[in-house]
């Protein structure tokens, strides 16, 4: 089965560090940064990029819509028949 590989881009200026994306991520990709943005919030970032599947759960939960999601399907070396 083709495994999806994803990546997110967080708009660190508008992120308010509410932690909702961290709790929504099924693969524990996101964490809050030690640094703060201009408003003093610990913004979210991809702490574990390899685990991201591009499921968009974080982005649809984000109250400030500051997450953009990208995804590619990884084709395995042996093609499988569905």
């Amino acid at each position: 089965m083709a495994k999806a590989k994803g990546a997110i881009v967080v708009d660190t200026v508008t992120c308010k560090g509410c932690n909702i994306c961290v709790s929504a991520c099924p693969t524990q990709v996101i964490k809050l940064a030690d640094q703060v943005n201009g408003k003093g919030y610990h913004y979210a970032y991809m702490a574990n990029p390899d685990a991201c599947t591009g499921c968009s759960n974080c982005a649809i939960m984000c109250p400030d819509t500051c997450i953009t999601v990208y995804r590619v399907k990884q084709t395995s070396a042996e093609p499988t028949i569905h």
């Binding site: 509410c18 991809m46 649809i60 939960m61």
Partner: protein, 254 residues
Amino acid sequence: MADTYTIISPENLVYKKTDLLLDNVMHYCPGCSHGTVHKLIAEVIDEMGIQESTIGIAPVGCSVLAYNYIDIDWQEAAHGRAPALATAVKRLMPDKIVFSYQGDGDLAAIGTAETIHACNRGENIVMVFINNGIYGMTGGQMAPTTLPGMPASTCPTGRDVKRDGNPLKITELLAQLPGTCFVTRHSVHTPGNVRKTKKALRKAFENQLANKGTSLVEVVSTCSSGWKMTPVQSNKWMEENMLPYYPLGDIKDE
């Protein structure tokens, strides 16, 4: 494994902020459910291609500045009077899509009369009802929807039913009225619930296009500042305490 930086390119895009959401940074507290619901409404309007013909009625409450965030036409209503204003707008311009966006203090307290009569007349509008069980903007006072035993700034020891009365399940009340065609309750505390809420909003707007009557979508939501919790704790508290009293699902669907 593809490199993270090579994945980030326009052809791999699966989710981005809809163009209907303006670039203004929302004034809501971190983790506020209003932001999520604003986004869902913007996405639904965008997907249905009704941006040019939609008029929103903004309430009084935390979401009083909703017109700053979604790129459609808006009208600001006096406190609680959004259904009355929506009625006027829809009757004067029947070809427009009209929705009101209200909190529980607006829809279930000061605007109860307008709400009930708009639903009873079966006005062909959509009402979005955000229920967080508290007056968020003014400092977390007790609202009609505050749960028994739930602390608020005007009842720090919790709501006493003998003294303060019972919480008002206005959505169930409105489902009794013959004018309403679609009454449903959802939440936005998990990704699955967010998707369900979006579907319900879409259905409500489609009902209006089909001239079916009033559609009411209640969204049980959180107020982390008013409840004095973190956003994640509020979501958990809501699931454990609010949802048993305000069960999710369709109450009426005709």
